[in-house]
């Protein structure tokens, strides 16, 4: 029998292989949607590291997403000849800095205060994006042209969707895999243990304030990376990328997918984008229906789609689901 560890890597390899086949299988419309799903999957996964793993409810995740999105657009417009890599790296650097600085203020507070403060910070960033017309384009937003990708030995044209899709699959996919790996590392487990019993962690030599700041900054940078690819994908960014709506979006994706598992939010992003696309084709009032679906989900299946799947799986294997991410314990070999 193969170990659980090996099985996980096989699943990841299979998903990448499946993803690589997609441009040959689906139409352009769906490839567009798939690119969007991958970008939002990282956004949701990064959010769940805060919410599900660390137990921190933030209403300010869009400030990182939006900051990453705007950094790419603004830097591509104002720095001539800036490469795609450097634009993305710049987005990660800015969001890391923003995460570190805002985190320093925010993380002194806990629970509801923390949640409300994140909302306030997000609104502040939104106001700046709206008012600072000269840089952000205000209501009009900013349009960019995706630069080509220089790999040193060759240049890959990024104008076409298929190439950009592969770039997204590679870069964002790798980031998601790293997040998964992260949950098993010392830091990832520290975050989980802190959610379980922060006080005891202090008496075991862990500086819990620093741990939270590191995590907050890390998830901010990940959201920033997702935001960067959001701009590159649509070749456009407006203040909606940094709005509270964008925070609600990630909250919905995470809840619909379920905070209890690592892959829940990925599933959530997938379902959310598809349902949103479908609903917005048939009615302009799609947010109303999205809201209804969300309310139903929270009331009826608080564990999200992943809870349903785990329950079904549990019926077969007899395992119990706790509804929370648990410390993965691979028996040491």
């Amino acid at each position: 029998m193969i170990s659980q560890k090996k099985a996980s890597y096989l699943v990841i390899a299979a998903l990448f292989a499946l993803g690589a086949l997609m441009p040959f299988v689906v139409r352009k419309y769906h490839l567009n949607m798939l690119t969007e799903i991958i970008v939002f999957a990282l956004y949701a996964v990064s959010y769940n590291l805060l919410l599900g793993y660390a137990g921190l409810l933030s209403f300010g995740h869009a400030m990182f997403f939006g900051m990453g999105a705007f950094t790419v657009a603004v830097s591509l417009i104002h720095i001539p000849g800036l490469s795609l890599w450097n634009a993305v790296l710049l987005a990660i650097a800015t969001t890391t800095a923003v995460g570190f600085i805002t985190g320093g203020f925010l993380l002194r507070h806990k629970g509801a205060y923390f949640a409300l403060l994140t909302l306030a910070f997000n609104s502040l960033f939104y106001a700046v994006a709206t008012k600072w017309h000269r840089i952000t384009g205000g209501d009009d937003g900013l349009s960019i042209t995706r630069p080509d990708l220089h790999l040193g030995f060759t240049t890959v044209k990024m104008a076409g969707l298929a190439n950009f899709y592969y770039l997204t699959l590679g870069v964002i996919g790798a980031a998601i895999v790293f997040c998964w790996y992260f949950t098993k590392t010392a830091m990832g487990q520290t975050v989980l243990l802190m959610r379980e019993n922060e006080e005891r962690m202090k008496f075991l030599g862990y500086n819990t304030n620093i741990s939270r700041l590191i995590l907050f900054t890390f998830t901010g940078a990940l959201a920033g990376l997702a935001g960067a690819f959001y701009t590159l994908h649509f070749q456009f960014v407006s203040q909606s990328a940094i709005s509270v709506d964008m925070t609600t979006t990630v909250l919905l994706m995470t809840f619909v997918g379920g905070t209890g598992t690592f892959w829940g939010p990925i599933l959530g992003a997938f379902v959310y984008i598809i349902v949103q696309n479908y609903l917005s084709d048939i009615t302009d009032r799609w947010p109303l229906f999205m809201g209804l679906i969300f309310v139903m989900m929270v009331l009826l299946i608080p564990g999200g789609l992943s809870q349903i799947i785990q329950t079904i799986r549990g019926r077969f294997s007899g395992k119990r689901d706790t509804g929370k991410p648990v410390a993965a314990e691979e028996s040491p070999t």
Binding site: F182, K184, T185, A186, M187, Q189, T190, L193, E196, N197, E199, R200, M201, K202, F203, L204, G205, Y206, N207, T208, I210, S211, I214, F218, T322, K324, V326, A327, A328, E329, E330, S331, P332
Partner: protein, 247 residues
């Protein structure tokens, strides 16, 4: 005389309520020091101050010659000080192994690493297993805490306290809520696992105190009434009046 742990004139009041009013205790290295006293005397508050959970209103704590009065709890732990809790304070949803490993890897400096997995660290896992075995939890090592009996949870509480390899161990009523028989077993285990280290223990059970400790401090209404060897505590009139006489 250079004491290992010096508690100097510690005062603590909680918004007007004076819980500790000038505590002075000196603990030598390798001493087995019991703190006894009636309920509400301030024993746990004293532990909270030594371990860094609360800050003293005034006074100082010197550990290995260093003033740690303003050092946060996590730094005191890294300094070699570890405590247990009177009310079991563990990671309920996790397994016994995970619980103990949290401290073992902290001690090895594997706290915030983004790349290394504790799972792949043989030394850490072996040490975790060894500690589980020391306190008699090897058989239930991979069970979640919620599946353990009360006595086993108390043993885990001690295992976690030991997991950072402390030099100075503070145990807050480790046998609270146990039956006589369980208490006897627990005390033998505590005696074994804390051998060669400095121990401060809060305990109600006089049998336990007199069998385990080589020094006893009697805390009475926020003050140390007397601090001496067990034989003299047993015959001390003030102690009899304040505490032992009650039984």
């Amino acid at each position: 005389m250079s004491d290992y742990l010096q508690i100097q004139n510690i005062h603590k009041d909680f918004s007007g309520l004076k819980v500790l009013t000038g505590i002075d205790v000196a603990v030598r290295e390798k001493q087995r020091h019991a703190v006894i006293g009636p309920n509400g005397a301030g024993k746990t508050t004293l532990f909270n101050i030594i371990s860094g959970r609360f800050k003293a209103s005034s006074g100082a704590i010197l550990f290995k010659g260093q003033d740690i009065s303003n050092t946060p709890a996590h730094a005191r732990n890294r300094h070699g000080l570890s405590r247990s809790f009177q009310i079991t304070n563990v990671f309920q949803e996790l397994t016994v192994f995970e619980n103990i490993r949290s401290g073992v890897r902290s001690r090895s400096g594997l706290r915030y690493n983004f790349l290394r997995k504790p799972d792949n660290h043989r030394q850490i896992n072996d040490r975790t297993e060894a500690i589980a075995a020391e306190v008699g939890l090897q058989a239930v090592m991979h069970m979640p805490v919620s599946a353990l009996s009360y006595g086993q949870q108390r043993a885990l509480e001690i295992a976690i306290t030991l997991s950072t390899e402390p030099e100075l161990i503070l145990l807050d009523e480790p046998t609270a809520g146990m039956t006589r028989e369980e208490t006897g077993r627990a005390i033998r285990m505590i005696d074994r696992v804390t051998a060669g280290r400095t121990l401060i223990i809060i305990e109600h059970d006089m049998e336990v105190v007199f069998s385990l400790a080589d020094t006893i401090s009697v805390l009475h209404y926020g003050k140390i009434l007397v601090s001496d060897i067990p034989e003299r505590i047993r015959t001390d009139q003030r102690v009899k009046d304040a505490y032992l006489g009650e039984e």
